[in-house]
């Protein structure tokens, strides 16, 4: 029994007890943030002590401190990869794919026939492993970010389409009738009533797609990329057993994913302030 293992168990039991204690306090607002933060911190500490205590080879599972050091050490590489994969690949594909899907949704919303044909089809395609198309797109559009953008477009298109069409469809009939009595034109109804009331659904789609876009861009790089990019770095550093770098990349991906998601939620709160779920 060495000192680190003892520390491991002490941290475990202390963290456990504190969290149970804290969760018994009712209606304290700051706890909503404090408890999960503490939980995450305790897990990190336990990870650190376990790796040190059991003498786990840092090649297999690096301790968090090593990952943090590597992260601080290679900020420039991480930034290059971040721009290559997330800004050029994922973000451009995300904007193109989601934009095209919303426009398509508006277009097919006019035709009931198309809607009935495309919706089941879209639902079906949403469940398919589209990531598998990555090698084909790499072949068509080359190794650089264009192919990543293309795969992201295809991945986000159908979930986004299904959500937008559903949103446009579920407009309250009495409101639509009201617009009619105002003698509103199609575009007026679209922009003043239907699109705003479809926003909760559109944002739901945007949130689902944000993760898909990151996954698509990273996985597509496993099939070939220039010598930069997060997927490239992950697969090549894994080959060299430099797992601290891999964890650093994963940390970047996680951070970017959370920030992006948070940003979308923030915009959603601003735009759909009228929705019951945002009113207390």
């Amino acid at each position: 029994m060495n000192i680190f293992l003892v520390l491991f168990f002490i941290v475990w039991i202390l963290g456990w007890l504190i969290n149970i204690r804290l969760s018994l306090i009712k209606n304290a607002k700051f706890l909503r943030f404090f408890i999960p933060t503490l939980f995450g911190f305790v897990i990190l500490l336990m990870w650190e002590f376990l790796v040190l205590g059991l003498n786990i080879n840092p090649v297999l599972l690096p301790p968090p401190t090593a990952i943090a050091l590597k992260f601080a050490d290679s900020l420039d590489i991480l930034w290059i990869d971040f721009v290559q994969t997330l800004i050029k690949g994922a973000l451009s594909g995300y904007i193109l794919g989601c934009g095209a899907a919303i426009l398509t949704a508006i277009a097919i919303d006019k035709f009931n026939f198309l809607k009935r044909g495309l919706l089941p089809f879209g639902n079906f395609v949403s469940a398919l492993p589209i990531v598998g198309m990555a090698p084909i797109f790499v072949m068509w559009f080359g190794f650089d970010w264009e192919s990543k953008c293309a795969i992201v477009v295809v991945m986000v298109f159908f979930p986004m389409l299904v959500n937008s069409v559903q949103g446009l469809e579920l407009v309250d009939h009495s409101r639509q009738d009201l617009m009619k009595t105002y003698n509103a034109s199609y575009t007026q109804t679209l922009f003043k009533l239907r699109l705003p009331s479809a926003l909760p659904f559109i944002f739901n789609g945007l949130k689902i797609c944000s993760t898909l876009a990151l996954i698509g861009a990273i996985v597509a790089e496993f099939f070939g990329s220039p010598i930069k990019g997060m997927g490239f770095r992950i697969s090549s550093e894994v080959g060299r057993f430099a797992l601290d770098m891999v964890w650093a990349e994963i940390f970047v991906a996680a951070l970017a994913g959370c920030l992006f998601y948070g940003l979308i939620s923030l915009i959603e709160k601003q735009l759909t302030f009228w929705h019951p779920s945002n009113q207390k």
Partner: protein, 289 residues
Amino acid sequence: MKRLIINNSILPILTILLFIVIVWYLAAIPMNSEKVTRQFKNLSFTEHVEKTWNLKKPKLPTPHQIVNEIINTTFYKKISSKRSLVYHGWITLKATLAGFILGTFLGIILALGIVHNRAMDLSVMPWVIASQTVPILAIAPMIIVVMNSVGVTGLLPKAIISMYLSFFPVVVGMVKGLRSPDQMQIDQMRTWSASPNQLLWRLRFPSSLPYLFASLKVGIAASLIGAIVGELPSGAISGLGARMLAGTYYGQTVMIWSALFAAAFLAASLVFFISFIQNYTLRKMAILR
């Protein structure tokens, strides 16, 4: 009512499918014609078009080439042969199912903990939600390589990735489902002096089933993706993902597309299978009529 909707959608769906096939064939002409002009000289237009549809390593294979390849590698190869699509599909399916079952159990247990223990609810749930926003698949190559170097190979590493992907939807759905009985129903159970166990098994669990099935459908699609991506790195030699990778290396586009179609077929039948059990169970429980 439901049957009516299905019948009403068949014609539109078929139209869309037909449209896609036509666009596919038309798109194959410009995409492959460069290769045709390089290989053949002095072709008439119809010959040229016909050649673009039947190239050996086309940029975009046509549907009939893919169907032919699938039929060839499914029915005319021995199942145990390395060239059989059934063989590769089975490898992927095994990992998918193992991961899915593990993930479902883990998800249900975690959800039970979250619903019954306030400390766990407050500490774990935010992380479960946060982890949904993280591109988990990026970890896949690392898990495979690390487990390989510890000596764990084959099915298990892939199953773990599948498990990781499939357990999140189950946790989220199950927590929602276990909390779906309203206060009145819970009070009713109390007036019958039901024990916590009885409350769980007679009220909470049955009313969570619709939510569970909805999550299972998402989960099984996710675990198939996990298994396929798990086959990509570290030179896996069997499985649908490995077949796609091999296809990329050797420029065998028809092989990639046929693996892709096989994966799509697997995904569709797995989701269909879950919906079948869902319909059967929910109908027996009189939740669905």
